[in-house]
């Protein structure tokens, strides 16, 4: 998927993309968007926009299930997502 610069700054669109089929992802991704997304460098913002295009079970496995993405580039983003406070 070709990502435009405007995709990275459209927070309202990203907020809706964080609506998923699994409650766990709703809660985690929305909290991440609020707490961390704005502070990310463009490279990681781009990864987040890419991550949202993956199927829910894959995102769940990476962010909650402890599996590692094959692409190392995602690892930094996933580590930040795992640090999100949802409590």
């Amino acid at each position: 998927m070709a990502i435009q610069e405007s995709d990275l700054s459209n927070i309202e669109r990203l907020r809706w993309q964080c609506r998923r089929g699994m409650l766990e992802l709703d809660v985690l991704l929305e909290a991440f968007l609020e707490q961390h997304y704005g502070d990310l460098p463009p490279r990681l913002k781009r990864h987040f926009v890419q991550l949202l295009e993956f199927p829910d079970p894959v995102i769940h496995a990476w962010c909650i299930g402890g599996e590692s993405p094959e692409d190392d580039e995602f690892q930094e983003l996933i580590s930040t997502i795992r640090q999100t406070k949802v409590v």
Partner: protein
Amino acid sequence: MALEKQRFDTLILGAGGAGLNAALQLANANLKVAVVSKVFPTRSHTVAAQGGVNAALANVLPDNWHWHMFDTVKGSDYLGDQDAIEYMCREAIPTVYELEHNGVPFSRLPNGKIYQRAFGGQSQNFGGEQAARTCAAADRTGHAILHTLYQQNIRAKTHFYDEYFAADLIRDDEGYILGALVLNIATGEPLLIESKTTLLATGGCGQVFRTTSNAHINTGDGMAMVLRAGLPLMDMEFFQFHPTGIAGKGMLITEGVRGEGGYLINKNGERFMEKYAPNAKDLASRDVVARSIITEVREGSGVGPEADHVLLKVNHLGEDVIAKRLPGIRESSKIFAGVDPVKEPIPVFPTAHYVMGGIPTDRFGRVMPTADDDGDHLPGLYAAGECACASVHGANRLGGNSLLDILVFGRLAGHNIIDYVKENNAHRTLDEASVEKAMSRLQKWDTKGDGITVSQLRNEFRKTMEDHAGVFRVEEMMVEGVEKVKNIREKLSEVRLTDHSSTFNTNRTEALELENLIDVGLSIAVSALHRKESRGAHSRPDYPNRDDKEWMKHTLYWMENDRLDYKGVRAQPLTVESFPPKERVY
């Protein structure tokens, strides 16, 4: 600006398993089909269904659709309609084979046949040995099905309206549904979709309760649309709660945790299930454990600053056992409860999981608008999946029967729609008054100024539902609950948006969802108040027994004056003898 209009043979609202399976039948028959989904289709809640699909294929152990039917009737606590249940259990077999042929990667046996696993509530020979009836695609069955059906629909040229929110059905004076008014979430622009037939497949409504395992999208949109169109919802008092959700969040903590030796404690560290179920203790049935947790909290033995939950202790099992036998629980608890279960107990509370009730339909998915048992269906309007009530789950649903329900009845509704459109191949005249009414409900949210926020009223509503219409249901508190929810419904007019922009305005979408939640919530609270017995998932400590003489009947709720009516259970199957009610013992 003039309202944009599009025309289709069939409009399907919702893109989970039911909507997509129906759409595929229709598109394959060269009908012009529109599917409206508020999120990208493969992000529908079907994706969260991990367990599998029941079908008596007899690949692992002997099996028979008739045994499956017996288990489903018994599981429903004899409130399920036996004609629909027979139909579902028979149709399960071709439905699974069709999915297989469409490319669903079911797990396999060494001989190449579909693997089937055993689940609770499945028996051979009418209550005998354990059966193995559930077909799964590893632990991603829902995702595999959704993904396959979506791809097949793309091939078949189904037209998708992704990220469109369905606001209201359009209905003419004679009662025919002419389509729906939908909203493009990306632009904020409304769109009128006219259709010869409409299928509601909008899923469940778990978000009516504060603690739920349901995704945020499960706001009962189709159910509320039906209520606003003057049609009833059926058996809404029957809501399945899982006893252990993460407190205040809702994510499921699997029963396997207690199966491995985890147990519940209150604020004094007491293992309270010993008191409520001296033999089974923490492994008592779901409803018993859920009610015991609520009782502890109500009697002041809850934990936390609000004393509003209990604890699930697992640290005595040791890190190795937790890592080996309960994978995922540790990470989930750390992220969502902020505790490491290897060191501390997990805060838990019963979580709303699945609604057995919904839009009343016959076994072909046709919406039944009256309490007349032999009454006519509403021509051209269909419902399937969790938003519908066929009724195959009755008062409680068996594991593996929810994916089955959505797939079978989505498919059969599709077949029935094909026949209907052959004979009714013209659009009816649009009812402008109905369109204006739907538009004015949308425009109401343009009012600016100070008021209650959407999240304030939503929090108040969901807490009220949990406290007054959740697991613990006694007369006095339920009467109070109905009044409170009616009061909340009044307060909706005082809610103001904090964001009036057009593009991806989540605040506005959530306001529309809140209206839906409140309308559906009242149907639950009112229906539950008036069912004076305990049956399946509906438990009344003040009426602790099942009362077949008075209550073997379905509740129907209409929004106008919060009216109720009842209709008999269809106890006569299609080709076999009826299963008479018996005490439910497992």
